[in-house]
């Protein structure tokens, strides 16, 4: 029996107070996510239950109970407090998927600071953009990543502390200090910061069409959505062992890789290793994973290796599969039925929503290729591209729109209220994606409504890439657009105009590609690059990315009346 039971009944009778009651929260109470994910589970008598089963690529393993989470997060919170870090200041987590990342997330929240997780593959420029915008006061990182922080340190006057969790005997430099969780005196008692519903909690940066990435500001009350969607959509139950593939540098990795499972008191397994189908299956077999939350890109990589590899492992423990990040194609649903005996359930949401908003819940009839239906309590529709009025005609393409007001919706973009307000039209929050509705109320994804590139489930902004490309001495101007890709749905393609006297060649191509990979991130790296003589522009000189994008996808280029003459 699934947690959600009848979808229709839940929709009819839904109220977010269901979640509040289950969590023992009443309006006006203190609500601290760090406490709810550790201390509360211990108070419920589950302190000795395993919370984290961790393994890295070398086979090193560590296990933590909920009581360990409580004590170690207290320890981190105390350490940060003693450094003089104040509630409301931003503390960045910049680590691979090591235990300190997960426990540190709780520790930062417990002492009232805002936690700013960043993907550890980010290059120094991506890191600088985000730390500088947030005026981050401390960063917790690993020895292998500290070099990137050192490169940008002189331009970050607000960054007072750099904590290195595995410093060992390696020499430390300016503003750096060693923080070894295992050897630090354990803190049994800690008074959590008395955060309230609207107290800022997590700051995730997300990319848009224009300008630099924006800091999506979440609050502690987001827990109400994240707890219940984890319970009803991912169907997390008491004896489950849950595995979320997402990195906590992205919102899935925190909403459903930390907050959701642990506020439900669920054991989760974490593999700190790169992709490898046999390694992944062996990991699930070893830890008897029951619920698996993955992504279409990973599923397509697994598909490429075939079902024969799956048969080499005992994956009979798996009972529920879900997917997020980009549309789950019908082939992947069919393949997972063949490979694992059950389908992946697509879920749709984004950094700004904080929780799953459109989904296929357990028990719902899956239409392969469809996003599913709105989560109970979420009012979602498709609105006209121009009038923003809800569309009534099935199959007509419009914008995915949500009625504001669910608990985990972001409250603003960091220092960018105007950008936040621009996301609302006609009383709807616009997700920036196009879709259609069928007569049964199922949503069908069509694509982005802007120039943002969705690669491997991550949004990449063209402006950030184009700005970095200009740092190359030979690049005069550029345009970054999406191009189709069999595995990642989309990848970045850059059109480059070179400065006179710089003939294109292989070395220059690799030089440009590697520049973006190292300065920004591997996700932002153009996987394809084309040298051109000029770029399509409007008469006012604005590059028309949509023309290039349409060419890549073989679509009509649309209205060219504003195109500059050749």
């Amino acid at each position: 029996m699934s947690n959600i039971g009848s979808y229709e009944d839940r929709v009819a009778l839904f109220d977010w107070s269901i979640s509040e009651r289950e969590l023992g929260y009443k309006k006006g109470d203190i609500i601290n996510i760090g406490w709810y994910c550790s201390d509360r589970i211990c108070q419920l008598g589950n302190g000795s239950k395993k919370a984290l089963l961790w393994e890295n690529h070398e086979g090193l393993t560590k296990q933590y109970t909920f009581d360990d989470l409580r004590v170690y997060s207290n320890t981190i919170a105390t350490f940060l407090q003693r450094l003089g870090i104040q509630p409301g200041e931003r503390v960045c987590l910049f680590m691979d998927r090591v235990p300190e990342l997960y426990i540190g997330f709780l520790g930062v929240l417990k002492m009232g600071a805002i936690v700013q997780p960043l993907f550890s593959n980010f290059g120094d420029e991506s890191l600088h953009t985000r730390l500088s915008n947030a005026k981050t006061c401390a960063i917790i990182t690993q020895r292998k990543h500290v070099a990137k922080v050192r490169k940008i340190l002189k331009d970050l006057p607000d960054l007072r502390h750099i904590l290195v969790v595995d410093a060992g005997a390696s020499p430390l430099k300016e503003r750096e200090l060693a923080f070894d969780l295992a050897s630090e005196p354990k803190v049994e008692q800690f008074d959590c910061y008395p955060s309230k519903a609207e107290t800022p909690s997590v700051l995730h940066y997300t990319s848009g069409s224009t300008g630099q990435p924006k800091g999506a500001q979440h609050v502690h009350y987001s827990l109400i959505s994240q707890y219940l969607t984890s319970k009803w959509v991912l169907d997390l139950q008491e004896d489950d062992v849950y595995w979320c593939n997402a990195d906590p540098g992205w919102v899935t990795g925190t909403s459903y890789g930390i907050i959701g499972p642990w506020s439900n008191g669920i054991t989760q397994a974490v593999l700190d290793a790169g992709f490898g189908s046999e390694h992944w299956y062996a990991f699930m077999q070893k830890y008897k994973v029951t619920v698996w939350y993955s992504a279409p890109t990973a599923i397509r990589l697994l598909m490429r290796d075939g079902t024969q590899v799956v048969r080499k492992f005992d994956l009979s423990s798996l009972r529920h599969l879900a997917s997020v990040g980009e549309p789950l194609n019908a082939e992947a649903v069919h393949w997972s039925r063949e490979a694992f005996g059950r389908p992946f359930h697509d879920t749709y949401w984004q950094t700004e929503t904080g929780c799953i908003v459109i989904t296929n819940v357990p028990g719902m009839q899956i239409k392969p290729g469809s996003m599913g239906k709105p989560f109970p309590g979420i009012t979602a529709t498709v609105v006209d591209l121009h009038t923003f009025e809800p569309l009534t005609e099935p199959g007509k393409v419009g914008l995915i729109a949500l009625r504001p007001g669910w608990p985990s919706q972001i409250r603003t973009y960091w220092n960018n209220q105007a950008g936040f307000e621009s996301k609302f039209k006609n009383g709807w929050y616009l997700c920036g994606d196009r879709a259609s509705l069928d007569p049964d109320g199922y949503f069908w994804f069509v694509g982005r409504d802007d120039d943002v590139i969705n690669t491997g489930g991550h949004l990449v902004g063209p402006f950030e890439i184009e700005s970095a490309l200009l740092e190359h001495p030979a690049v005069a101007e550029s345009a970054a657009v999406a191009t189709p890709d069999n595995v990642n749905m989309e990848v970045v393609k850059a059109f480059i105009v070179l400065k006179p006297g710089n003939p294109p060649n292989d070395d220059m191509e690799m030089d440009i590609i590697n520049l973006i990979r190292k300065r920004l991130s591997p996700l932002a790296m153009p996987q394809k690059l084309e040298f051109v003589k000029s770029l399509p522009k409007t008469r006012s000189g604005k590059i028309m990315r949509r023309v290039l994008r349409a060419q890549e996808f073989g679509e009509p280029v649309g209205d060219l009346s504003t195109l500059e003459n050749d």
Partner: protein, 85 residues
């Protein structure tokens, strides 16, 4: 020639995928993909480098994380398309 190929690939991986002051001893058997040194996106840039450097074309079906998981494995892959390398 075999040693030269290894040297080229090892040198390139060290230069492009390790931080300047990383205190890591990367060898020809160090796991690159499963070890998190080269992620699946960065693998594409490594593939492009090999294709350009050795004038080969590696089909997507052969460009798997397993085939790129160490310098030795990469050299084996390159030799499939360029036996004299």
């Amino acid at each position: 020639m075999a040693e030269e190929l290894k040297d080229i690939v090892l040198k390139y991986v060290k230069k492009e995928y390790l931080e300047e002051d990383a205190d890591m001893d990367l060898t020809c058997d160090t796991p690159l993909i499963s070890g998190g040194i080269v992620d699946s996106f960065s693998m594409i840039s490594l593939k492009l480098f090999l294709e350009k450097k050795f004038s080969i074309s590696i089909p997507d079906a052969k460009a798997t994380p397993q085939a790129f998981d160490s310098v030795n494995k990469i050299c084996t892959l390159v030799r499939e398309f360029r036996p004299e390398a």
